[in-house]
């Protein structure tokens, strides 16, 4: 015992010396000059130029309250947060943030933001809608923004940011049906909530449309449009469940899978990569952000149904700075670019030019109204 501890001490000594010297070196930087008063730091980025509302709006406070997913959820909390951060960079506003760990935190967080004197309070997630509604009614001078708040009837100082993601998913469904070699595509969700099922429903609708147009018989696993039910993992955390689900779909013959489950979708990427190594040729349709850029396994991602929340939050803040706050909900669509299909990146060759042209036509059709997605989950704007 004594020998062992002696030995470990000897072994530890060099490591400790290294560690301490590292700390010493790290602490050897030069002290900055005392800041002279009046020499405020420059804000704003050069590339964007000077926005109309100016880059010095530090007296404007934009605040954001997450739902229990937190700002690092690789999904709507994160995109909204990044949107506010980009507004901070571009317009020089002051930003405050509060993460919620459970719905119990919502009201305290929003109230705390009010106390802190926020001009605009952004609540992310449909559950924040119930929290915002009474608080907004009692605080008419403060503006509120509800991201993904689908329930209607809010006071005039609330703007909702919602998305008709069924439109983008419709394109993805059509694309998947066209690319699939097995004639089976699949989708699953994290939890059965409208912001998830709208993707699944739009995806299935796109496949149906393909079948009608081409007289084909591509099947959708994981979502039934008639019965309005499908396959769900139960939460937005369990990646293993996503992997199991995906492996099952692949074994049933599906070769394109669209997970609508935030980080759970990473399990799908793993499953598809493994299946491809074993000789399959499966692909993934990502959602929310361009998965080719935000994940490490972009080579299996055919495309992504993007929900550009960051841009929406950024624009809402800009409008508010310009004194043009509106209680009309912002509905992201293919038309206004709030919803879009990401580039095909590595798998560009898998999509025929004919299919690409058809996708453009369908997109134009959805924008001008000649093609209806017909999802019951689409927001009524």
């Amino acid at each position: 015992m004594g020998i062992a501890s002696d030995l470990s001490r000897k072994a530890l000594l060099p490591a400790a010396v290294l560690g301490i010297s590292g700390l010493l070196l790290a602490g050897c930087g030069a002290a900055p000059e005392e800041e002279t008063p009046g020499a405020g730091s420059e804000t704003g980025t050069e590339s964007t130029g000077t926005p109309a509302v100016g880059t010095e709006n530090s007296d404007y406070t934009g605040c954001i309250v997450s739902d229990q997913g937190g700002f690092d959820d690789r999904s709507f909390n994160q995109s909204s947060y990044e949107g506010l951060k980009s507004a901070e960079e571009d317009f020089g506003i002051t930003v405050r943030e509060a993460e919620s760990t459970s719905p119990t935190d919502f009201t305290p967080n929003v109230n705390s933001m009010l106390q802190a004197g926020c001009d605009t309070i952004i609540g992310v997630g449909f559950l924040l809608g119930d929290t915002i509604k009474p608080i907004a009614a009692a605080n008419e001078d403060t503006h509120f923004v509800g991201v993904d708040v689908t329930d209607p009837e809010f006071p005039d100082n609330v703007q909702r940011i919602i998305y008709d993601t069924a439109q983008g998913a419709f394109l993805a469904g059509y694309l998947s049906a066209g690319v699939s070699e097995t004639g089976k595509v699949a989708t699953y969700g994290g939890a059965e909530i409208p912001t998830v099922t709208i993707f699944m429903d739009g995806f299935a609708a796109g496949v149906e449309y393909y079948n009608e147009q081409k007289d084909a018989d591509v099947q959708v696993l994981g979502w039934n449009r008639e019965a309005k039910n499908g396959s769900f993992t139960g939460d937005f955390e369990n990646q293993a469940a996503g992997k199991t689900n995906t492996t099952n779909f692949i074994n049933e013959g599906a070769d394109i899978i669209m997970p609508v489950a935030g980080p759970v979708g990473l399990g799908t990427l793993d499953a598809v990569t493994e299946a491809n190594a074993a000789g399959k040729d499966a692909k993934v349709v990502w959602v929310d952000s361009d998965g080719y850029l935000t994940t490490d396994q972009g080579e299996v991602i055919l495309t992504s149904v993007m929900k550009l929340m960051g841009e929406a939050v950024h624009d809402v803040i800009e409008a508010d700075l310009a004194g043009e706050f509106s209680s009309e909900p912002y509905v992201g669509t293919l038309e206004n670019g709030g919803v879009a299909l990401a580039p095909f990146h590595d798998l560009d060759a898998a999509v025929s030019d004919e299919l690409k042209a058809e996708l453009e036509e369908i997109k134009a059709g959805i924008v001008d109204g000649s093609i209806t997605v017909g999802s019951d989950y689409s927001p009524e704007s």
Partner: protein, 505 residues
């Protein structure tokens, strides 16, 4: 706080003679080595460690650290400012906002702390009662959810006058939780299944059950596609306690009343006596004539009922609406609070207040200083970690070793009623038996963890007439190894007979 934890012993009276023992040293020494001191110091220690974390994650500190040797004072000043700002915000958010313009704003944080602690106190009392009965109920989450589901169903779909409606909703919530708890109690009593496994599984069932029900017309809000219920009718909601400017409602009064009830139940009632007997030593309780199986069911029904009541206090008090996350982390926080309160109702009440205050303050700390709310969770966890290891705290602060009485009550904060009586007897008999007593403590602790393992060693050899005289002495009674010596043989049946009589009335 020290007054609270002194009572952590089963009989408040027991600490009196113990404190006055001639060989136990001064009153100061007693205080310093007591549980109360350990609790306070555990809180201080966790605040200090969290301060280090705040410093290490503060951007300005890290920046100043880069030129530490050129101008060290920058680092120190930045570190001090980061911690001071964070803890000042914590205080402003939890206790008193000295920056507010009016009185309402000043006391708002305290009211918010009370509001947030309400469900926590109620559910923790339920967990504490199960702990005292030797059951490790970690199903608070599930029981709370089912209670909230029952309460919401009757609160949304019925039209009744105020008072009647609220009362019905409260009763239904308690029933719901009690039902969910009774499943565990019955299964454990009938089949010997372990309550930890049962409660974990029932948690899952409850979580997915509420998620399902919120997708069906049973609970889903009309016209909404989101998994959220309608708001409860105004007649089914606890009215505000101190006006509309605070979220504090009559649910807090319910929490206070529940604390009194739990204290009475555990300390004064016949059922509570039997529950503690089962918790201390099931084999001895059985020998003494207590129906251990029945007590398992009773304990789980009461524990679950209180968890259900906590669910009511959420849907009918603070939130007024049911969603899938209604139980939040309450079910597991409650275990922590019950441990911190040493399963003593009054201790649980104050532990719940502390956690509610940390929760409320954490929000302000997050919004005003940008320190993540996770720091609050770290503070809470560290407090309990230190509470669970009293010798660690004593070593750090060089506190005197406790006398054996406190060693016993301190070593096992979860259950173990009646230990004080036995230990007092031990110490008065002879100092040399301390080690025997300690081994008994370890045995008891294992017994708690395993649910119902019998205590392997009993300090029976140290028993004295004084012990038999103590009302709780019966439970100390004895393990299955042979008939108990001394006066306890006669004491046990007597105690128990009165118990059974009292119950049948």
């Amino acid at each position: 706080m020290s007054a609270v934890t002194t009572q952590a012993g089963p009989r408040p009276g027991a600490s009196g003679p113990a404190a006055g023992r001639p060989d136990g040293g001064s009153a100061l020494r007693h205080m310093m080595s007591g549980n109360g001191m350990v609790t306070v110091l555990a809180i201080v220690l966790s605040l200090v460690i969290s301060a280090v974390l705040i410093i290490l994650t503060d951007e300005e500190v890290l920046e100043a650290l880069g030129y530490f040797f050129a101008r060290p004072q920058d680092t120190l000043v930045a570190a001090w400012e980061a911690v001071a700002a964070a803890y000042a915000a914590l205080f402003r958010g939890a206790v008193f906002n000295y920056r507010a313009e009016d009185f309402t704003g000043m006391i708002y944080p305290f009211m918010e702390s009370l509001t947030l602690s309400t469900p926590l106190i109620i559910i923790s009392l339920g967990i504490a009662i199960s702990f005292r009965s030797g059951l490790f109920n970690i199903g608070g989450q599930g029981q709370m959810i089912i209670g909230a589901v029952f309460a919401t169903f009757f609160g949304v779909h019925l039209q009744l006058p105020f008072g009647v409606h609220l009362l019905l909703v409260v009763i239904m919530g308690i029933l719901g939780g009690a039902l969910w708890g009774s499943i565990v109690g019955i299964l454990k009593a009938a089949t010997g299944a372990h309550e930890v496994i049962l409660t974990i599984m029932l948690n899952y069932i409850a979580v997915y059950l509420v998620a399902y029900l919120l997708q069906t017309p049973v609970l889903q809000r009309e016209g909404s596609t989101n998994p959220v219920s309608d708001f409860l009718e105004p007649t089914a909601v606890f009215p505000p306690l101190l006006g509309d400017s605070f979220r504090l409602n009559w649910g807090f009064v319910v929490a206070v009343l529940t604390t009194v009830f739990a204290w009475w139940l555990i300390q004064r009632s016949t059922i509570g006596f039997q529950l503690r007997a089962v918790g201390a030593n099931p084999a001895a309780a059985r020998t003494a004539g207590v129906s251990v199986k029945r007590m398992y069911v009773v304990a789980m029904v009461i524990s679950g009922g209180l968890a259900g009541l906590a669910g009511v206090s959420q849907v009918s008090g603070t939130e007024k609406v049911l969603n899938t996350d209604v139980a939040g982390s309450f079910g597991f926080d409650a275990i922590t609070v019950a441990l911190l309160g040493r399963s003593n109702p009054v201790g649980v009440f104050f532990a719940g207040l502390l956690f509610g205050a940390l929760r409320a303050g954490g929000v302000t700390m997050q919004t005003e200083t940008g320190v993540p709310i996770d720091i609050v969770l770290i503070i809470q966890s560290l407090i309990v970690l230190f509470i669970a290891a009293p010798p660690l705290v004593r070593t750090i602060f060089r506190l005197p070793e406790p006398d054996p009485l406190q060693a016993r009550t301190g070593a096992d904060p979860v259950t173990q009623p009646a230990l004080a009586g036995a230990a007092a007897a031990t110490t008065t008999t002879a100092g040399g038996t301390a080690s025997a007593a300690e081994s008994a403590v370890i045995g008891d602790a294992v017994g708690v963890a395993a649910g119902d393992a019998a205590s392997p060693a009993s300090p029976a050899e140290t028993a004295s007439p004084a012990e038999a005289a103590a009302p709780a002495g019966a439970q100390r009674g004895t393990p299955d190894a042979g008939p108990p010596p001394g006066g306890r043989v006669t004491a046990s049946p007597t105690q128990d007979t009165t118990g059974e009589d009292g119950e049948q009335r």
